[in-house]
Amino acid sequence: MEPETPFLTRLAALDYSVLQQCMHCGMCLPTCPTYVETGRERNSPRGRIALMRAIADGEMTTTREFGEEMYYCLGCLACTTACPAGVNYPVLFEAARAEVERAQVLSNPKRDAIRWFTLRFLFLRPRLLRFAGRMLWLWQASGAQTLARRLKLTRLLPANLERLEPQTPVMRRHFSDALIKSIEKPASGAPRYRVLVLTGCVQDLAFSDVNRATVDVLLENGCEVITPRAQSCCGSLHAHNGDEASAQVLARRQLDAVDLSQLDAIISNAGGCGSHLRQYDHLLHDDPQYAARAREWSKKLKDIHEWLVEIGFRKPATAPDSLRASSTSAGTSCTVTYHESCHLCHGQKVSRQPREILKSLPGVELKECAEANWCCGSAGVYNITQPETAAWLQTRKVGHVQATGASWVATANPGCHLQLENGLKAAAPSGASTTQVVHPIVLLAEAYAAERSAALR
């Protein structure tokens, strides 16, 4: 019995075969963090798909409970790696969240205001976002933040903000545009490739050093690097949070800013962004003006590790400086473990390449940690929206990292980076962790740099 619906829900409007692709065999269950946490089917991929299908079939309406379930899902996509049937979960997940927003089942004034401010205001305006980052930097660099923390002024914040305040990422003094020229060419020889580097938004403000390192390793490997100024957000935040319209606006903006025919590759160095950036072909597939360009974009979009391995990157001859410093004595190697960003390994299926890069570093021993491809709980804004599950995953992850005894944990996504850093800090008795977090590309860039300075000596 189908209830009368005046319009199609977002799920009913989907290609039904995507929903049908799930044959509910259950292979996804053991890899789904939320199912492992609760042991309840509704918190599993196949359970969520069953709920989506019930809505698409008109057996169920879009309820508040459904909305909460869709936001309880991490969107880590571990299920897509486990799924032999090849269910396109990202498409289902984004359509389901868009449906939740369309039906406004979670709507309340506070949530609506936050969503408007972040999705529709701040993250649609690249210059405003950087201005906010600059203000935050001033607050931190002037000592005001330390003072406020010491005076316990943070207690004046609402409870959930007070909890989140210590996790505020540290802003960089220089953002990417100040560190990277819009066109840079390899120091010697004619460039073998011409590539474009995407600087991201959080990455740009809090990890602009990663962007600089990305450009450095590309130059070192014969790539001419183009880095457009004041880049927009890629829209992953919007797409993952049910705001497809804004995601499309941002995707079009990215496409307008580049001449794809002049590029061999578009390079992303953040797992979460890259995973979404690859989906532009799907996101704009029924936009006659942009569909063709979006397809070309998706084809050329490469994760930095993937690209370097593809072009046969040069293995450095010297150990990176920061690792040499943390080796106990000369000649011994430094242990590094690798945490896989979900959207890098599950979203982009790039898993082998970052390890290859780490293993190429002289003086580095890569020691695998348990559940390396499990979510750390950062998951976009999940650590803000679902603090309990995020904290459980963070503790689990930190435990596995510490069990390796590694002095460094490498990871290639800003969200994971912050989550690991905060988790390791909290787990260290003195509040200062002995395990440091680093992007693999930063280590590679350091190794190349160490090589050059050794040659000068």
Binding site: M23, M27, E41, R42, M60, T63, P84
Partner: protein, 475 residues
């Protein structure tokens, strides 16, 4: 709908019990791993121990509420699909390994323990739990016992039944029975333990399992042989058995299956081959080396295109894991994937394979075949679309012919998945009048109210209700 006072009484009888009733919570318990079968429970309850289970069963009996027991819901015959007005008794929270007895080589576990964990726990102390159903990473041991699950190692090591030494069972009246013990020999009374293995939740609820373990084989070797024809692969299997070699695993994949598995697992399977055999031998290193050589020679004699050895233990595990994904990987091709497990005596394998292909052509349906060739257990898998009614009718016609033919060869309608809902219309034909009547006599003696997973395996009454099916597929 559940009787109004049932849930309140349940909560007071077992206050710590988790009971789910919200639509969003219980809808995902409406199915298992079987295609096209769907039902709706009135509530899903999560007992913590046998006492909880006993309270639930007593109360269900008082209120005439049917009970459908399930673990992870990976069954392949609809055994745990809810029936109207039932509660689903989900045992996943009873998930402790209670004991590993290295003196008697046994392991005691609650029913909700994942099969893989049992294997790992045994492995950690140098022991071996052989049954390895395709879903072992998530299936529960309780479900394995209820369905008498098989697996890739069935050829040499048998199925779940061969490893169950004892069971604790809550009977439909709420009493708790202990069946079996740690003795290797025990002939006291009827073997009631075996009655519950494979009873698909229709006689009682298993709340504890005592398992037999084996010493871990010291060596193993995995071989891959490719063929230009299915017949040549089938003949190789017959020849291996005829030469009195019993490998641990002797798996077959046809080209369709091979390509889907490779698309998912990317383990370097030769997708150009028409057929592939995955063979594993295990045991004493010298025996393994000898068997591997002899198997290679037999493959070569039977027109194998190539025979390759897994280079490392990791590669062997990757290959076996890839094979376990075959059924789900086939879902890449069409919207609905209906898996059967008709099984024939091994000498009839080649005939059965030929027949499946003929029937598929005759009814114009897509079938991919893989399975445990060594034990005659085939998995012809229909690739179809449940929304195409006309095609579904052709699938059903083809399926019926396959069952009829398997039975005519002295085979069975199900080798390892159970009857459940999917195959109950064919059971009478296989068993004949008196055995079929005997099943009902036993059911009535143990479950006189007919509340334990009613309508599964067989219908007690002619007008019994069954869950809805998008299609009359087997139901």
């Amino acid at each position: 709908m559940l009787p109004s006072s049932f849930l309140t009484e349940l909560q007071s009888a077992a206050p710590s019990l988790t009971v789910l009733t919200a639509r969003e919570d219980i809808l995902p318990y409406g199915f298992d791993g079987t295609a096209t079968l769907k039902g709706a429970a009135g509530a899903v309850v999560f007992p913590k121990n046998a006492t909880d289970v006993a309270s639930i069963l007593r109360l269900s009996r008082a209120h005439r509420v049917p009970v459908v027991t399930r673990g992870s819901g990976t069954g392949l015959s609809g055994g745990s699909v809810p029936v109207p007005g039932c509660i689903v008794l989900c045992l996943v929270d009873m998930n402790r390994i209670l004991e590993i007895d290295t003196k008697n080589l046994t392991l005691t576990a609650e029913p909700g323990v994942i099969t893989q964990r049992i294997f790992d726990a045994a492995d950690a102390v140098g022991l071996f739990y052989p049954p390895d159903p395709g879903s072992m990473k998530i299936s529960t041991i309780g479900g394995n016992v209820a369905e008498n699950a098989g697996g890739l190692r069935g050829l040499k090591y048998g199925v779940t039944r061969n490893y169950v030494m004892g069971l604790e069972v809550v009977l439909p009246d709420g009493s708790v029975a202990h069946l079996g013990n740690k003795c290797v020999k025990d002939v006291a009374g009827y073997n009631l333990r075996d009655l519950f293995i494979g009873s698909e939740g229709t006689l009682g609820v298993v709340t504890k399992v005592l398992l037999k373990l084996l010493p871990k084989p010291a060596a193993r070797q995995t071989l891959l042989a490719t063929y230009a024809s299915m017949d040549a692969a089938a003949e190789t299997v017959s020849a291996i058995i005829a030469e009195k070699i019993i490998p641990c695993t002797l798996e077959f994949l046809d080209q369709r299956t091979l390509r889907c598995v490779e698309a998912f697992a990317k383990v370097g399977l030769p997708t150009e081959a028409e057929a592939l055999l995955l063979i594993e031998t295990d045991g004493h290193p010298a025996a393994v080396a000898d068997e591997a050589l002899r198997i290679e020679a037999i493959c070569a004699r039977h027109q194998a295109l190539a025979v390759r050895r897994a280079a490392t233990a990791e590669e062997a595990v990757r290959l076996a894991t890839a094979r376990r994904s075959a059924f789900s990987a086939l879902a890449r091709l069409r919207p609905t994937t209906i898996l059967e497990d008709a099984t024939v005596p091994r000498s009839e394998l080649a005939a059965m394979i030929r027949f499946i292909n003929t029937v598929a052509q005759k009814h114009r349906v897509e079938v991919a075949t893989f399975g445990h060739f060594g034990d005659g257990n085939l998995h012809p898998t229909f690739l179809t679309d449940e929304r195409n009614h006309e095609e579904m009718h052709r699938v059903e016609a083809a399926m019926r012919e396959i069952f009829d033919y398997a039975l005519s060869l002295g085979g069975t309608i199900t080798g390892e998945h159970g009857v459940g809902l999917a195959k109950k219309n064919f059971l009478h034909q296989q068993l004949g009048d008196s055995s079929f009547a005997l099943l009902k006599t036993i059911k009535k003696a143990l479950d006189p109210d007919g509340l334990m997973n009613p309508g599964k395996i067989f219908d007690l009454a002619e007008n019994a209700t069954t869950p809805s099916s998008a299609h009359a597929h087997g139901a």
